[in-house]
Symmetry: C2
C-alpha cells in the first residue's frame, strides 16, 4: 500500500512513524504547502510541494490528509478525493454531516473512497458509542476525556495578554465516573464531568491575578468548568509539560430483562502517551480499509461506522477467525 | 424484522426479552425440540415444534439459534441456513474455522446470510482484539474474564460424586491486570491471570476433603489455577449464587513513535448482571445486520469481523453521523 502524507505537522509526523512501523505500507512522500527544502522529515522521506500531488496520480494508493478541521479539511478532502482515495480526521462534530455530503459527491464522481473523521473521537469513541447503543438500546452513554492536553484550550490561554506559553489538561471527575459506572444514569452538568488544569508561563511583571481571572472566566472554554491555574517557569513547562498525552473513556450502562431487572456496563478506555501518534495509527488502519474497499469497486465517502473491522487489518479473514475470534 | 427463536434455554429467554424491548423487532415464535405444550414463554410468545420451522419460510426474517456449541450448533446452523438467515453464538474457538466453512457453503448455496460466533467472547471481545491490533500492530493483547460464573466449570464440579450443586466464579488477578496496564508486556501463566472460586453443596455425610481435592486437582478445569472451595448449604447457594453475572476485559498495550518511545493502552471492559441476556442482546443486533446484508443481496457466512458497525443499528447512516460520530 503506497501512502502519501498531505500536511506535515504533529499528525503528519505521527503518520510517518506509523507507516515506518507497518509491514504492509510504504511512504511515497510528504506533501507540504511550505517550501519543501525547509522541511526535514523524521525518516528521511521525500518532501514535495503540495501542488505537485496531482502528478503522482496512479503512484499513490491512499493520501492521508493531515490538515486542520477549521479551514483546511473542508476544502482539501473533497478536492483531493477527485484524484485519490483519501483519509482525514475531520473532528468538528457539528459540521460532519455537511463535510460528508461534500466529500461523498466528489468521491462518488471520481470512483474513489474517502474515509472522513477517523481517529479516536471522532473515530474509535464513536464506534464504541454505536456498538454499545445497538446492543443495549435501553441505556445511556457518557463520554469522558482526559487526563490529557487540549491543544485548543492551550491556544486560548496563549492569546491572553501577558502569557508566554501555556498547557491545559482536561481531567475527568472521578466521582462522576463512579456514578456513571454504578448504572444510576446520572444527569451530569459540564462542571460535574470534567475539571481543567492550566499551567501558564507569564511575562515578567505581568498581573498574574488578572491572567488567572481572564482564564477562569473565559466563555465556552473555561467559564463552565472548575479551573485551576498554576504559574510555572518556561523551563518547568518545557520539562514537565512538553508531551501530548490524552485519552478518555466511553461508558454505556443499560438494562435488559423482562422488567429491566439486569444492569450492564460497557466501558472503552484509551490512555495515550501521544495523541497525534495514536490518531495517526488509526488513520493508517483506515487507509488500509479505503484501499481494500476501492479494490472491491466501492466508492464515496465512508466513516468508521461503514467499515467492517476486518477491513482495517492486514490479516485475511481466515487468519483473523483463527487467531482473534 | 421478524425473529424466530430456535431453542429455549437461558439464551433463548434472553433473546425473547431483547426482542420484547426492541423497537424494530417482533417475535414470530419460539421453536423447541420439547413438547410445545410443556413450554411456557416469558412474554406469552407462541411455541412451535422445532420440526415445524420450515413451514414458516417467508414469514421469518432471521432465526436466532440458541443451541449449545458442542453438538447442537455444528448441525443446526448449516441446516437452518438453507431456509433462513440465521445467527448463532458458536463459541468453541478452536472449531470456528470448520464451522465457518460448513455454514458458508450452506448459506451461499441458499442465498442467505448466516452470522456465527456472535456474543461477547467470541464477539465483542474479538472485535476489540482486532481493532486494537490493527491500530497498534507493535503491541500485545490480553483477555481477562470475570468476575463471573463459568457454567462449564460449575457443571464439572457437579459431576463429582457427593456433590449436589455448585457454582464456579472465574476471577481476574488484580496484580496481573495492573502489570498489563502498565505496558510492560508481561508473560503471564494461566495461574497468574485468573483464580477460581467454587461454592459447593455436598451430600450429607460426604467426604468434604475428598471433594475439595478432586476439584482443585481436576485437569484442564482447575489444576492450573489457584482454586478455593467453600462448602455452603443448598439454601445459601440459591440465595447468594443463583444469578449468572459475567464480564471481563480485553487490554492491548502498544508502542508508537520513531523509536517506539510512546506507549498506549486500549481497554474494553464488560460488567454484566446476566451473561445470557447480554449475549442475547448482541445476537439481536447481529440479526438486524444479517437482515440488512441479505436485503443488499449478500450471502454466506459472516462473523462480527465482517459486519460494519452501522449495520448493527436501527438508525440510518445520516442519523448515526449526526448523533454518534
Amino acid at each position: 500500500m503506497k501512502i502519501a502524507i498531505y500536511g506535515y505537522g504533529n499528525l503528519g509526523k505521527g503518520v510517518e512513524c506509523a507507516v515506518h512501523n507497518a509491514c504492509d505500507a510504504e511512504l511515497v512522500g510528504v506533501f507540504t504547502r511550505r517550501d519543501p527544502e525547509a522541511v526535514k522529515t523524521l525518516t528521511g522521506a521525500a518532501v514535495y510541494k503540495a501542488d505537485d500531488l496531482p502528478k503522482f496520480k496512479g503512484k499513490i494508493d491512499v493520501v492521508i490528509i493531515c490538515g486542520g478541521s477549521a479551514t483546511d479539511l473542508p476544502k482539501m478532502t473533497p478536492a483531493l478525493a477527485k484524484d485519490f482515495c483519501v483519509v482525514d480526521s475531520f473532528d468538528t462534530h457539528a459540521k460532519i454531516p455537511q463535510h460528508f455530503e461534500n466529500v461523498d459527491e466528489a468521491a462518488k464522481a471520481a470512483g474513489t473512497v474517502a474515509v472522513i473523521s477517523a481517529g479516536w473521537d471522532p473515530g474509535m469513541f464513536s464506534i464504541n458509542r454505536l456498538y454499545a447503543s445497538a446492543i443495549l438500546p435501553n441505556g445511556n452513554d457518557y463520554t469522558f476525556w482526559g487526563r490529557g492536553v487540549s491543544q485548543g484550550h492551550s491556544d486560548a490561554i496563549r492569546r491572553i495578554e501577558g502569557v508566554v506559553d501555556a498547557r491545559q489538561y482536561t481531567v475527568p471527575v472521578e466521582e462522576a465516573l463512579a456514578k456513571v459506572r454504578s448504572g444510576e444514569n446520572p444527569t451530569l452538568t459540564t462542571r460535574q464531568k470534567h475539571t481543567r488544569e492550566c499551567f501558564v508561563v507569564a511575562e515578567e511583571g505581568a498581573d498574574l491575578e488578572e491572567i488567572r481571572r481572564k482564564i477562569v472566566e473565559m466563555p465556552n472554554y473555561f467559564a463552565d468548568y472548575d479551573t485551576t491555574v498554576t504559574f510555572v517557569t518556561l523551563e518547568e513547562l518545557r520539562k514537565n509539560h512538553s508531551a501530548l498525552p490524552h485519552g478518555g473513556r466511553v461508558i454505556r450502562t443499560g438494562k435488559t430483562g423482562l422488567n429491566n431487572e439486569n444492569s450492564h456496563c460497557i466501558e472503552y478506555s484509551l490512555q495515550l502517551d501521544s495523541n497525534p501518534e495514536f490518531t495517526a495509527s488509526v488513520l493508517l488502519a483506515c487507509a488500509r480499509a479505503a484501499d481494500k474497499l476501492c479494490a472491491r469497486g466501492e466508492s464515496g465517502c465512508k466513516t468508521m461506522f461503514d467499515i467492517a473491522p476486518a477491513d482495517l487489518s492486514d490479516l485475511s479473514g481466515a487468519e483473523l477467525r483463527k487467531t482473534m475470534l
